[in-house]
Symmetry: C3
Subunit: 114 residues, 3 copies
Amino acid sequence: MLLKRYHTSIRYSEAVTHRGVAYLCGQVGEGDTIQAQTRHCLAQIDDLLKQVNSGRDKILQAIIWLKDMADYAAMNEIWDAWIPPGLAPARACCEARLAAEHYKIEIVITAACD
Amino acid sequence: MLLKRYHTSIRYSEAVTHRGVAYLCGQVGEGDTIQAQTRHCLAQIDDLLKQVNSGRDKILQAIIWLKDMADYAAMNEIWDAWIPPGLAPARACCEARLAAEHYKIEIVITAACD
Amino acid sequence: MLLKRYHTSIRYSEAVTHRGVAYLCGQVGEGDTIQAQTRHCLAQIDDLLKQVNSGRDKILQAIIWLKDMADYAAMNEIWDAWIPPGLAPARACCEARLAAEHYKIEIVITAACD
């Protein structure tokens, strides 16, 4: 039962891996618009996935929380372009207020890793 | 690290399997009432689970999002009758607005599969 | 594909284990304040994790739903003290109304187990 943790604080680890699966902390992004925040959020996910020997082509499930569902189409434009063709994960998306008022999106990733 | 994807679009796969675990896309259902939508949603889950060599008796975790928590009891009537006796999964349920206004329920399933 | 279920009702199991991973039911807590409810919720998680041969040092991912995000800091005080130093899980937190009006917090745990 080997757990490996990455960037661990007193509150959370940015990622935990166990038996070939990586569980990431909910990722947010900075920026003034939903598209800017989504781009930054996905860039941080890329970075974390690389650190755990995974990648955007190996995501199993993505849970997306949007502060305002009116941002759904604009978020999807960025998401669809980020997903490698043919390799999209299972996904679910709902509306929810996030930990800080300025956050418009948070994504919770589970991915396969080496 | 073998991932298998089912019904993959540019945005998501309806299911992804990896190491004996199936991750399903959040499933919704059509219908005018919470019970009609729940029935349809669960029927779609049955169908997807069958395709990934799993079934409603092998669900590990179900996350239920309800647009209106006032629908909780009516949803549970359908859910309780659908679950095989003695084989219920871990479950959690909260209120959340969904991707389209007319959706009253969305269920995110993780299940064991062959 | 061995699933083991714990405290199974017609609606859910409090925990399901499969291939070294435990999926817990969303846990709530009783009490008049967010800190009282968080303490009780975490005590119930401790109890369930012990029953599945896991523990708070083996949590992979925690999803936290708060009824009111204004309780975030007060919840974190209890959470941070409960997490064993250096062993924090991946975590995500959003605001959501829960199944009963008096609940202020619900936590959904995935953990490694023997």
